[in-house]
Amino acid sequence: MFKSMMRATGLAALACATILSGTAWAEGTLTLTLPGMPTGYPVVASGGLSDILATNVISEGLTRWKKDTLEVEPALATSWEANDDASVWTFTLRDGVKWHDGEPFTAEDVKFTFDLILNKDIRAAAAGQVDTLSSVEVISPNQVRMTFSKPNASLPLMLAYRMPIVPKHILEGQDPNQPTAFIEHPIGTGPFKFAEAASGQFWATERNEEWWGGDVSLDEVVFRIMPDANSAVAQLRAGSADVALIRPQQISALEGGDIDVSAVEQPSVYYVSLINNKPPFEDVKVRQAMNYAVDKEGIIKAVVDGYATVASGMIAPSIEGYTADVMQYPYDPEKAKALLAEAGWTEADGKLSKDGKPLSVELTTSTGVIGGPQLAQIIQQQLGAIGVEATINMVDFRDHWTGVFDGTFQTSVEYLNLQPSADITNALSCGGSQNRFAYCDPELDKMFADASAIAEPTARKAKYAEIQKRIGENPPGIWLYYPKEIRAISKRVQGFPQNPLRMATTHLFDVTVQE
């Protein structure tokens, strides 16, 4: 009995051995891991990283990023021109571009796409980026005119960000919020075309032989779905994936292998919004004091293992027009106390108060902000150390985002993916549609308006430098850090773009993978 079982086991082992000699993925394949399935419909895609990475591979906008910097270059538009105050833009479209199904790309597609983005009934991801766009007209099959209610000098930059053109001939007649047929087989004009997807497994594209940009080196770009982060690292080590975003704790698992690990600063910012019309934050001295009271370097070490740079405002260093020449707030609790004393807050028994009321700050955050709860705890301690009575308010993330605009909270610990241009009018002008600070500085609003009407780049940059200086002295909140993404890339991969991943996947056409 026992012997016969052992014999059976031996046979089974032999069978296993035959099975074990396996196949690898095809050559010329770049495999990226994603935590979840992407959606290939860019208009309403959630804006989550998976969606952006995947749509960038198959779709194209009128403009696109350069390979390694956040500057723009022509894509579906070959050239553009603005009127004097940059409120009317004319784009000339590239000739001979074809959709992946062979239909020609025309100005009608461009109009169709922007009409979708502007349609209030559609939850277009990019609606906030072009909210001053009043009309899009087709002038000729290869020319479009966009008219804005206000000057918009940074339009070409904005067009490279999450505004791929979608095919009118396919989407017309489908539910624009949920075009199931399109999501199952997305069509673009990009260097790769959608090949096949299997829920929870992969989302695969293959080279577009007809691409207007010429030869595409890779045979295919495949996104493999790896819900578990440790398994994604195992994929890299086993050589079955080439690119993954990883966490700091995972770096050591990849050391000494065939993997390059690098950190790239992202155009995102973590900060504490101090709602400017709520006491005690109407007073700029209090807001400045809060900035001095928080140890940003310490926070970066504690929360992201050092993978971030201290932030100085809402324009990230990688964005054109950024200046470092603004007021800095190094960790200085004494200075914070001095500023609060100037503002009339007196200290007794280590507690600050004014007119008998304690200086209390309620830090609101949610699990929708990665690291948010941890940030709130550290900031609570640091504010406590200078005598502020700080408490934490954890909320549901839906309540978090709506509450920020409703003025429900006194502060909010949060992050934002920054727009790629220095034009932050929406975010910081009085009553701006994305103003999360109830920030209002009429003088600054004039400067925003001036800057967005300057078409000449150097003069515009100078204006934005002035703007950043002014905001630096009058901070709307506590700037914490610009996070870095940690990317692990197989050494077999050559020529991977230096841009953050959310911008990099537009430029995979000259990447190569060596066997």
């Binding site: 396996g22 199931t180 829920s199 929870g200 578990d228 549609s433």
Partner: protein, 314 residues
């Protein structure tokens, strides 16, 4: 018998309904909310439009009524995250889970019973000790840890097996499929295997003291036949119970196993849905899984009757 079946079915339907209500209420009370709304890039108006289009603006009972109404028409709703019908997602993923669970079940039962019988026969030998130790280890080691260790050993270091996932259609072959199935099915079935082994062993020990076994031996029937026919058949009842109870566990465990091995089944789909607050998808998956569990329990109960004619249902 027929009356019993009707009653059990009626109970199942009520149980099923309770499950939907509970799940519906619990997922909406859970902290967080749909990840699709956790997007700081959305403006307040967009947030409101989105809440409206997702049907989240209405009171809970209205939302439940709408969901139940849809269900009765065979409409499970549309996934928040992927924008495709829940039913088509489940239909795409469920066969993979059934495949993984069946293979895991076969491995668990075959190995578990085999080792259990051997342990009983060679009671207190080194083999018995080793098998018991492995069994206890298997019961106490968490699946996600075991999964990662096996991946590191067999996929990363030795490179014998793939890290995870399923073969793509163009690479598809039975051998490729088997390579992808080995690690996840061993991990998924490990817990059940250990349980089956322990129960088989103790049940075999128990029945081997029974008079009919002694009588069979006294009649000169070959030992193998005594064990596999006289003893085993009577030892099966507790083992079947363990297997029946293990089926839901196999499904629940699949959620972890599938996530670690990126196996595209309903378990990893469920984990993603839960993590991202994809309400319609969570409801759909709960529904399908509870249906499977309820049916599995019913079948287990019915199988007693086949094994033991003394069991009567009324």
């Amino acid at each position: 018998m027929a009356g019993y079946l009707v009653r059990r079915l009626a109970q199942s339907v009520i149980l099923f309904w309770i499950v939907t209500v509970l799940t519906f209420v619990i997922i909406r009370q859970a902290p967080g909310g749909p990840a699709i709304l956790a997007n700081p890039d959305l403006s307040k108006e967009q947030m409101e439009t989105l809440t409206e289009t997702l049907g989240l603006a209405d009171p809970l009972y209205v939302q439940y009524g709408r969901w139940l109404g849809g269900l009765l028409r065979g409409d499970f709703g549309t996934s928040f995250n992927e924008g495709v019908p829940v039913l088509s997602l489940i239909a795409e993923r469920l066969p993979n889970t059934l495949m993984l669970s069946s293979v895991a079940l076969v491995i668990a039962v075959a190995l578990g019973m085999g080792l259990g019988i051997l342990s009983a026969v060679k009671r207190n030998s080194w083999f018995d000790g080793l098998a018991s130790t492995l069994g206890v280890l298997n019961l106490s080691v968490p699946a996600f840890w075991l999964g990662i260790v096996l991946i590191l050993l067999f996929a990363v270091e030795l490179r014998w097996l793939p890290v995870g996932g399923m073969p793509r259609s163009r690479d598809w072959s039975l051998i490729e499929l088997a390579r992808h199935l080995i690690l996840p099915s061993v991990v998924a079935g490990g817990f059940l295997m250990a349980n089956v082994m322990r129960y088989t062993r103790s049940a075999m020990l128990e029945v081997s003291d029974q008079l009919y076994v002694t009588a069979a031996r006294a009649m000169g029937i070959r030992e193998r036949r005594v064990l596999l026919v006289y003893a085993l058949k009577n030892a099966m009842l507790p083992v079947i119970t363990v297997i029946g109870l293990g089926l839901p566990q196999l499904f629940a465990g699949a959620a972890i196993t599938e996530t670690v091995f990126a196996w595209p089944g309903i378990g990893s789909l469920g984990i993603t849905a839960a993590r991202t607050g994809d309400f319609p998808l969570i409801m759909g998956i709960t529904l399908v899984v509870s249906l499977i569990v309820i049916v599995a329990n019913l079948l287990t109960d019915l199988s007693y009757m086949l094994l033991d004619p003394r069991v009567k249902f009324s």
